[in-house]
């Protein structure tokens, strides 16, 4: 079964993504039409055990997936700059070590908040609690 797709309507990335979505059920081979370079021929061959009767269903699903991938590609392209901006900002604020952070000036052995002290040293042992194991 061969489907001809117009690459002016559906970008090549969308065609490849649509093929990839069904790679577990069929074999895909893409070629360009020698007379019309903007037309891409998608040869689909069902894999063994998937059933020949399902070829028509796969073709319809492929057409829908093609539309879906095309739309995703368009949205992704339109939002590229804002996506990069958001990621850039997020990464800027989570940079691990910034200049002037207190961790640089303090030695690790200091314990200004007294969190390194064991519970027993600070509050003593509870009465009647055995520590034998």
């Amino acid at each position: 079964m061969t489907i001809t797709v117009n690459s002016k309507l559906y970008p090549l990335e969308a065609i490849l993504n649509a093929c990839y979505a069904f790679i577990d059920r069929a074999y895909f081979f893409l070629d360009e039409d020698p007379r019309h370079p903007h037309l891409i021929r998608v040869a689909i061959k069902m894999k063994k055990g998937t059933g020949n009767g399902k070829a028509d269903a796969l073709r319809d699903q492929f057409n829908n997936e093609l539309l879906h991938c095309s739309l995703r590609h368009r949205v992704s392209k339109a939002n590229k700059r804002i996506r990069e901006y958001i990621i850039g900002r997020a990464l800027y604020f989570v940079s691990p070590i910034q200049e002037g952070t207190p961790t640089e000036s303090l030695p690790y052995a200091d314990d200004p908040l007294h969190i390194a002290k064991p519970w027993e040293e600070r509050y003593g042992r509870k009465k009647g609690v055995s520590t034998k194991i």
Partner: protein
């Protein structure tokens, strides 16, 4: 030993990047000796000294692998 050549596979340069075809050839290297050449806007893949007869299914699997690699290259 007589050299057995599988029918050549042709991948359009406009659709498939060379990187993907080469990656697939590397992955399938255990099946035979691969040679990729460029001709008339196509990457022509030839397989020599195939360890076992290369069936149509093998060819299809190779095509799908190149497709997968192409998607990775996007």
């Amino acid at each position: 030993m007589a050299e057995k050549r599988a029918f050549p596979l042709k991948f359009s340069k406009r659709i498939y990047p060379k990187k993907a075809v080469r990656a697939a050839a590397r992955a399938f290297a255990s099946f035979g000796r691969f040679r990729i050449r460029e001709k008339d806007g196509y990457y022509v893949v030839e397989v020599a000294d195939a360890a076992s007869p290369l069936t149509g299914e093998w060819r299809d699997e190779f095509g799908n692998y190149v497709l997968g690699m192409t998607k990775k290259c996007l």
